[in-house]
Symmetry: C2
Subunit: 196 residues, 2 copies
Amino acid sequence: MTTAKRDTYTPETLLSVAVQVFNERGYDGTSMEHLSKAAGISKSSIYHHVAGKEELLRRAVSRALDGLFGILDEDHARVGRAVDRLEHVVRRMVDVLISELPYVTLLLRVRGNTDTERWALERRREFDHRVAELLKAASADGDVRADIDVRLATRLVFGMINSVVEWYRPDGRGAGEREVADAVARLVFEGLRGAG
Amino acid sequence: MTTAKRDTYTPETLLSVAVQVFNERGYDGTSMEHLSKAAGISKSSIYHHVAGKEELLRRAVSRALDGLFGILDEDHARVGRAVDRLEHVVRRMVDVLISELPYVTLLLRVRGNTDTERWALERRREFDHRVAELLKAASADGDVRADIDVRLATRLVFGMINSVVEWYRPDGRGAGEREVADAVARLVFEGLRGAG
């Protein structure tokens, strides 16, 4: 039995508790009982807000996906040379990863056992594809090196960017959001030997 | 009950079955029962080879760690300018990741609940530190850009390299080992805009 506290949750604040539990225990390993315990309210109170844990997952990954897809609608991602648009997208991906850290962490760990997980994977692939298209366009413009396969380059660049969720901690002691975005953009576009 | 087959395992072949199960179910989520089922031999047959699942974990992550630390003892990692030694290490890390894929995958997923896991994390940190020292030396030589913090650069470069375990499949259809190592080295040292 959970010592029930008064339910003052909004769907938004309940979501932030759920995402933390999902990231700690894994989505599969999380029961409504775990969510109820973490939130300090009864299961029926949770059902008052959402239909179940899959709805919480859908809302959480939607938040991450909306952040990422939102980047592609920004002016700097739509207008200009492909390589500059790509650089804007890379920087902003780091921003979104950091500002929506727990939500993007969850998105990146989704494996695909439920409809919601499969949908999330599909949307992630769509986003990756949009970025790969930008890289391809920059390559066609002759603005990025031609001696790396576009698909391989996309995967490696995503690998570097996504790794940020593994170690970034918003405690103010490590590198700040701006410093990380700058470092990623410099490494991705100019490399370690680049003009420093 | 498992339908026991004749135990023709060596510690080596048993290890390769165990690593696959650990990677699929997670180390915590794997019981001796799961290992017995996957290997098709009884639990007591497994105990004939090893003291338990923690010994299998130790052997598996040791194999990955030996591969990685072995790189640092190679001539090209010990002699020459720091930046060239670093490039050698980066390329060889990709080689080891690919040739020891399941073992390195397991190493990268270790979280630290048991003594063996904590020891593996400690050794990983030691390896990261050795590579960071090389990057620092290359920076002191003026051979790598000075406008990215060494610790941050190390993390991002490791992020790119380690991401290979997420998508590399040794089925001969995607990029080969050499192509991936070349792509990583080019991106890390010269970036996307580099002379292609």
